[in-house]
Symmetry: D2
Subunit: 322 residues, 4 copies
């Protein structure tokens, strides 16, 4: 961890009788601004000499010295200008606010400190978090998203009257295939979980299947968005505002020309929902949630028992062990 | 063309001595609002009895009875609220305004009418337009976009200091591979073009290679965006506004925590450029520009000389023709 | 089931007091020639009027009227000519003999008949067989094959001294990723199995995950073979016979020029093992074992609860049910 | 080039007044055994101190000291046992014999020596060979193969009566799409070729498009084989020998049960042709012909003008050059 500026990672700058003082930042913290309290852990396993960075604690929103710098995207602007959330594509759950949390000498009382200097355990803590997060964020979370996207895409196809065309059925099936595959990986990760440490009563997901879940969804979610955009049609990225339906100069045109097997209102509403996905923040976000795919690939390679597989191959090929 | 409402497609409602009167709409007209004049042709080949729909003409922007209903997206909102275009991801060319053009009894003088009732030629006209459009819009146009995206992604990797990591090099190479493949299809389509009709001096691109260009880019551009988002990092979809650099409360934090191998300003600027692509309108738009991929697949299948290939296979397999 | 020749499918031609007489054929019966007894069931669900085809029974190998017409492939020829099985790529388990079983008036005693005329249950019987077979043959079986292939490919890389090259590690990881994904689908299919019918004590795999397993492996096994061939190198398809090592004129050359990080003997042996996979019968066979991928796609689409997903999407988009 | 055994690469061991004496081996030489003469060039660019390896010459088959060690595969065995070549899958052109050429003190007269010690030019010679070979072997050659495979697969579909099923049409179209894309890359490589060196009258293919051709076909040919196996059906890998049609005990059964929309003879013949591809040597061979895909990826990356693309992106993002 040879970095020029020690403040990049959160670390302890003072130990007091009643607690610790921390400095540094946590970037890409999705949802933190909306939480009552945030659990902070080290970013990676720390080594000897890096004890100050081996820290874990809870901090309530609003604590002195803590600043949230929120993301700003086209979707932020749209929300600001919209007279009603119903005109946004994903009105209730589409606001996925990510922020940078800056810790500028923030005091954390001892009762909220869970790790402080135990460098040798920090890697294990991060690994356990990753295990759970890859199964959940990589698997279960996107599987839920995809259920919505599949439902919306099927509606869009029905609204256009094309849901029975063989190539539409084929693409819908591919969306389902990917999603059920990711769901299966998540379920296998959960069901093949291990008690860790033995006797503790705490279970962790199986790491191989958790990484398989995240890698399946990393590419797979992108493909699901692709087909949503393909089936959703050009409409999903070229549509006028639903507010035109209240515009006396254009409402009758929009009603007339956006109508198909369903009225314009319904087609616009569901196209907007699809737009929020296929031209939104979640696609690229999925790559990095729970770590970049390269991290999962490295984990998967490291977890593989090559000796056992090599031995099986040798045995069948009639090649004795050296 | 059995449709309930004849107005959905543009058609002639009156023929006068000095010209024609047309009604109907053209949806998903990218850039039309910014053009001096728009060339309108039939949507598909028309059959006997559909002469009124076999129409082609030019119409200047501002003609009476012509209404443009523009798209409205998160990017429209962001542009409205931004104090300077430089804060937008693709400030100069990112505004790709698509609209619905409504023709409500629009008069077109005869000197601007190119086809009117010649149903048997309408299919050929559409096919010739498609040929050119698939080579250009499917091939050349996105190849140029992708050059920009590849350049920006390489910059983002360099700004983060990861440009030499083997998996980054691998992904950059895959982006290049796809783009050069699409470029090759476009070049082959142009160079193997045919004079059509013979002796006319007008050349049309080769249809097989033009369709191959569009199909290569349909999936390929989506993959290029995927890797841009992967290499661009979570930052591309979670970054704060560049305006924070002018905010006295947060500027020093952003400068400190967004710095890597390049200063925060540069990283934010290029991440925003990448955001405009990997979380923008172009990905899904690419599917449908120049027709949906299914249209190109049908064309490719129809253009294939199966008899010749079957005959070659028969001959090598020693199977005489029936 | 409108077929010209009723004999194509196995059916009952006579019911006697002591049993039934059947005619017809079963094609692509892998392993049947080596079995003591074969369980025969109808090929598909039969309808009213097709009772003669709604049949299920057990038949011992060697029964009068039963003929096995075995497959003949290049691998059959190689086995015939080889002085020792050790020179074959997959000596112990590589002989995957498929045959056509012809039933020419074969008598089956009643105690070996399990279904005879119950057309309405025949579809359910086939579906239950498919459920199990897709989980096993599509999932578990190929996952075991792939463990061997991954082991052999890693050995080949080590024998050539290239196992640490980043692109080799990347491809090995992709092989593992696919295989663990298929394994997860199989495990999820088994663990989420249902008692069918309720109270019977018989459990069937979950059908969605079983189909996901087969579809994951259909494309995935082909990709695993691809990387085995890529990493195995040209050697896997251009190598001389291991018997050259006993040829006084060539043995010293082969030993000298086929040596790398491992002696020629070992490299040839493992390259031959890889050849058996990447230039063998299993790749194409995997497509059709347990039914063609199209059958699984149709099943997956039919099993999907679209109404629930549509309802979720409607609800989030604020679109009331019609 | 730090190798233990200098004999692995072909090199000069003696320079005489009338010629040179060379030692070493060339592995994976496809077709060499059937050629009158072989052109030998260095394997890679040689550096100072490696002059003995910077050699290029022509050698006639049958020269003293030259030994060919041929490959031996299941297909070799099948050919040996077959009473007539017509029973082999690809009787006329399926024999793609690869061998190891061993040079054990082979004398090459000066008039057949084209390079001898000019280490600094050896890299350029190899690069020029690679350029042509990637366009031809990667592009044109496999495109021709694929025309045959597409023809045979369409015949197989027609023989089974399934050629109009939408998923068959879709897969046939995908085979065509890949093949026409590779053809376009080859054509673009040829048409955008450069005179090299200027004024010489010798033209070399464009290197970027040549590498794109090879990389398109590396993955693409494998996919084409996949769909041939899928559409060809289980039959392609489980079929009995065509010789059964001459077997009095089984001929009538085979005729009866292998018949579909075409007679058994035709179905068997074309299935055997497909078997030769989808369960044959060409798939894995394609990866390494003209160098492994990794070599082309490295070339493509090295050939890319990143500075130009970065500059374009900077300019559009409003980011001044440093």
């Amino acid at each position: 961890m040879e970095q020029e500026d020690p403040d990049v990672y959160v670390h302890v700058v003072e130990k007091r009788e009643d607690g610790i003082v921390v400095r540094g930042a946590k970037v890409s913290q999705s949802g933190a601004i909306g939480s009552h309290e945030t659990l902070v852990i080290a970013t990676m396993g720390m080594r000897q000499g890096e004890e100050d960075f081996a820290v874990a604690f809870a901090v309530p929103n609003g604590t002195e010295g803590l600043t949230y710098i929120c993301q700003y995207t086209p979707f932020t602007a749209e929300r600001e200008l919209s007279p009603d959330v119903k005109y946004l594509g994903n009105p209730l759950y589409g606001q996925r606010e990510t922020c940078i949390m800056v810790f500028d000498n923030v005091f954390i009382p001892w009762e909220h400190v869970f790790m402080c200097g135990e460098a040798k355990y920090s890697g294990r803590l991060v690994a356990r978090f990753a295990k759970t997060h890859r199964m959940n964020c990589g698997g279960a979370c996107k599987v839920g998203f995809a259920d919505l996207i599949i439902g919306a895409t099927q509606l869009a196809a029905e609204f256009s009257g094309v849901q029975k065309a063989p190539h539409i059925v084929e693409k819908m099936t591919d969306m389902i295939r990917i999603n059920e595959t990711a769901r299966a990986c998540t379920i296998a990760a959960a069901l093949k979980g291990h008690e860790e440490p033995a006797g503790s009563g705490f279970f962790q997901p199986d790491d191989i299947f958790g990484n398989a879940a995240k890698l399946t969804i990393a590419d797979g979610f992108w493909d699901i968005l692709k087909w949503a955009g393909d089936i959703g049609g050009g409409m999903a990225v070229t549509m006028p505002s639903e507010l035109e339906l209240e515009n006396p100069e254009t409402a009758h045109y929009v009603r007339k020309f956006m109508k198909a097997s369903a009225p314009a209102e319904q087609r616009l509403r569901i196209a907007k929902f699809i737009q929020n996905w296929c031209a939104g923040l979640h696609g690229a976000g999925t790559w990095h949630g729970a770590g970049s795919p390269m991290a999962q690939k490295m984990a998967l390679y490291a977890l593989t028992n090559f000796e056992e597989k090599k031995s099986l191959a040798r045995s069948l090929a009639g090649l004795r062990e050296e």
